[in-house]
């Protein structure tokens, strides 16, 4: 066995957002090379935000990612609106959370059904899987559709929605439209519950490991559209303090920048959120944790699948709660005056912490922008995880088994490679 030497090349990873490849080389019982490369071309978003008006930012940053445009819009709004002495109305705050629920619902349902489940049920893709498991796939597509409908309610369309603006929304939906959608959302709650049970019943690998979790925390509710950073190492940071602890560097042979927390890899995303904020889950989800026997915090990355299912239930519940008491507002936004200066903002994108910083000049134009998306934050963690998970899985497995396991490990993070390559490190070109 010691003479065994194999190379595994996955030239194009499937079922991830964006394009990347994986290279493994095993000599004897050692992993001598492991490379997760990302070859998406950079799109230089921060650079052409320079010189744009503050109000244009929401429509521009949405285009960084088609899967989580709402997260980009809300993080940007949080950052820019921090430059105003006025606050957005309570109605706007509540509706932004409902809008954001739509994105968690859509993105998590898409991930579970189209990207992750085929691995566990033994199919290459969801369409092939649908022939054998039509009900499960249809249930997933329905939940994804609910998320899209919720985004459309506030944004007109689910990809690059057009409703969000500084100070609120361009438009408030009518009470009847909201009531119709609430009925449908209620009708999907049972599907969501069944999905959680289904995910929890899958034979997920048991692979505990230790890692640092980073997530937003909000005193009033499970953090989503706002909050402060909490880490499992005990740090509490506001958006302006992010850069003191989180640093990025450029990995050779890749177009992405990787970040670390004071020199260490860390996890952001659903499992990190659940580990940090599980005490704030509503009662019915606390009961669900009992029913499925799910212990939190969890150190098994494969539990990310269950974490997404639970967050689907949470997002549905929250959207219903917020919209059940919907009242048509006097105004869907208030005009904010933004002071020149540097604004910081963040939110919990479906894949994790999404941090923005903008410098605004006295003409109301963006002077500089910096965006740190979740996938670049998770990259170091993914690589660390691959190293130990594959060794623990057993390097003596055949090529197909190793490749599948590696892909599963990567998909646990739901990496969005398009996002990962669309940002810049600002410090350097300021000089």
């Amino acid at each position: 066995m010691t003479s065994r030497r194999i190379r595994i090349d996955v030239p194009a990873l499937t079922r991830v957002e964006g394009e990347g490849s994986l290279r493994l080389e095993i000599k004897g019982n050692k992993l001598v090379e492991l490379g997760l490369s990302i070859f998406e071309p950079p799109r230089y978003f921060e650079k052409f935000l320079e010189g744009r008006e503050a109000r244009e930012v929401v429509d521009i940053v949405a285009r960084i990612c088609g899967i989580c445009p709402v997260a980009y819009q809300i993080s940007a709004l949080n950052a820019l609106e921090s430059l105003s002495t006025q606050a957005v109305s309570p109605w706007v705050q509540r509706m932004r959370r409902a809008f954001y629920c739509g994105e968690w619902l859509q993105s998590h349902a898409l991930h579970i059904h189209l990207l992750a489940l085929p691995d566990y049920l033994g199919f290459d893709n969801a369409i092939a899987m649908a022939e054998r498991h039509p009900e499960e796939v249809k249930r997933g597509l329905k939940l994804q559709g609910m998320g899209n409908a919720l985004i459309r309610l506030f944004g007109g369309r689910s990809v690059h929605p057009v409703g969000a603006r500084l100070g609120g929304f361009h438009h408030a939906p009518s009470a009847e439209t909201v009531a119709d959608l609430v009925e449908k959302l209620k009708g999907a709650q049972e599907d969501a519950r069944n999905l959680t049970h289904f995910c929890a019943s899958l034979p997920l690998p048991d692979d505990p490991q230790s890692f640092i979790c980073v997530a937003l925390h909000h005193p009033d509710h499970y953090a989503m559209e706002s909050g402060e950073i909490h880490t499992s190492t005990g740090l509490v940071l506001n958006a302006a303090q992010f850069e003191q602890h989180f640093h990025e560097h450029h990995k050779p042979d890749s177009t992405a920048l990787w970040s670390d927390l004071d020199g260490h890899p860390y996890l952001t995303g659903p499992l990190a959120r659940l580990n940090i904020n599980h005490a704030q889950l509503p009662d019915f989800l606390q009961a669900r944790l009992q029913e499925i026997g799910f212990q939190l915090p969890s150190s098994n990355m494969f539990h990310s699948l269950i974490a997404r299912a639970l967050e689907i239930e949470l997002a549905l519940h929250e959207a219903i709660r917020l919209l059940d008491e919907y009242a048509y507002p006097d105004a869907p936004y208030n005009s904010l005056f933004l002071e020149p200066g540097i604004g910081f903002g963040m939110s919990e994108a479906p894949r994790g912490l999404l941090w923005h910083r903008y410098a605004l000049d006295d003409q109301g134009l963006i002077q500089a922008a910096r965006i740190v998306p979740p996938t670049s934050q998770n990259q170091a963690r993914i690589e660390e995880d691959l190293h130990r998970s594959l060794s623990r899985f057993g390097l003596n497995h055949d090529e197909d088994a190793l490749r599948l396991r590696a892909e599963q490990v990567i998909r646990n993070y739901d990496p969005c490679i398009s996002c990962a390559t669309h940002f810049l490190r600002l410090e350097k070109h300021e000089t």
Binding site: A12, I127, R157, S158
Partner: protein, 270 residues
């Protein structure tokens, strides 16, 4: 009859146009009964060099590898359809062509810029290979995609709606945001297809579907000036998501950073 074979390819993009397939819901499963999907990485099908009847292409070209790959896609496909602004006009990322400072940016950002192989300018698919049908929009929507697939399934030429958003507003009896609020709206020169979403939400159209037929861009630019927009603000209206579409580039270019070099894209590579 054998099912038509299709592929969905991604180039430099945000993945949003592919969602026009992945957001189809149960219609995605029905589509799969009518066609055979051979390549669509995000959905799990990987056969990049398959011969297909229809290739859908998302994203713009921004690296030498992508030029190579699109030629291959063209060679393997009967019919090639670009989906979205990136593929059709270069998209938002083509804004980097305006300044021509790409090399400096790249060197400033990446510790090892030699690993970053990019073209000097971001270009649409049609600048490299023949495109049979262009679907505009950022993003394209499922209706556009399904209409194209159906037309091809029935062997008829897909209809290409090039009307202005303005006309769609009139059809839907939407209040004009330019007339009533003085908002600088791109609707008069932008192609419809979205259903006049933005004006219906009481806001300005920002041109994500690209130029309409015989777009009177200069006239609209003058109108914006009449609404007291400064030259840079007028340029920003035209130079956004479809900045390289000639009708927008020309009108925006006139106002773009007066005194700066000609913003029109050159064609030389790194």
């Amino acid at each position: 009859m054998a099912k038509p074979r299709i592929a969905v390819h991604k180039f430099s993009s945000c993945d949003g146009c592919q969602l026009a397939f992945l957001n189809l819901g149960e219609a995605l499963l029905q589509l799969n009964e009518q066609v055979e999907i051979l390549h669509f990485l995000e959905a799990g099908m990987s056969d990049v060099s398959a011969d297909v009847d229809i290739a859908f292409v998302e994203g713009s070209l921004s690296t030498p590898d992508e030029l190579e790959r699109i030629r291959q896609v063209r060679a393997n496909s009967q019919y090639l359809i670009t989906i979205g602004a990136c593929a059709t006009s270069g998209g938002l990322q083509a804004l980097r062509n305006l300044d021509g400072h790409h090399d400096e940016w790249r060197d400033a950002i990446y510790a090892q810029p030699e690993f970053i192989h990019t073209l000097k300018n971001v270009v649409p698919i049609a600048s490299e290979v023949k495109v049979d049908l262009e679907l505009w929009g950022c993003p394209v929507n499922s209706v556009q995609i399904l209409a194209a697939v159906r037309a091809l399934l029935f062997g008829v030429a897909p209809v290409d709606d090039r009307d202005r958003v303005c006309l769609e507003c009139k059809r839907q009896q939407t209040v004009c945001v330019m007339v009533t609020q003085g908002t600088p709206c791109m609707g008069p020169v932008t192609r419809t297809g979205c259903g006049a979403l933005c004006p219906r939400f009481g806001r300005d159209c920002y041109g994500c579907y690209g130029p309409s037929e015989t777009a009177q861009s200069e006239t609209l630019a003058r109108r914006f000036a009449g609404l007291s927009l400064v030259p840079d603000a007028i340029a920003r209206r035209f130079l956004l998501i479809n900045s390289q579409a000639p009708a927008f580039l020309q009108a925006g270019g006139v106002f773009y950073r007066s005194g700066a070099e000609d913003p029109r894209a050159g064609d030389q590579d790194d």
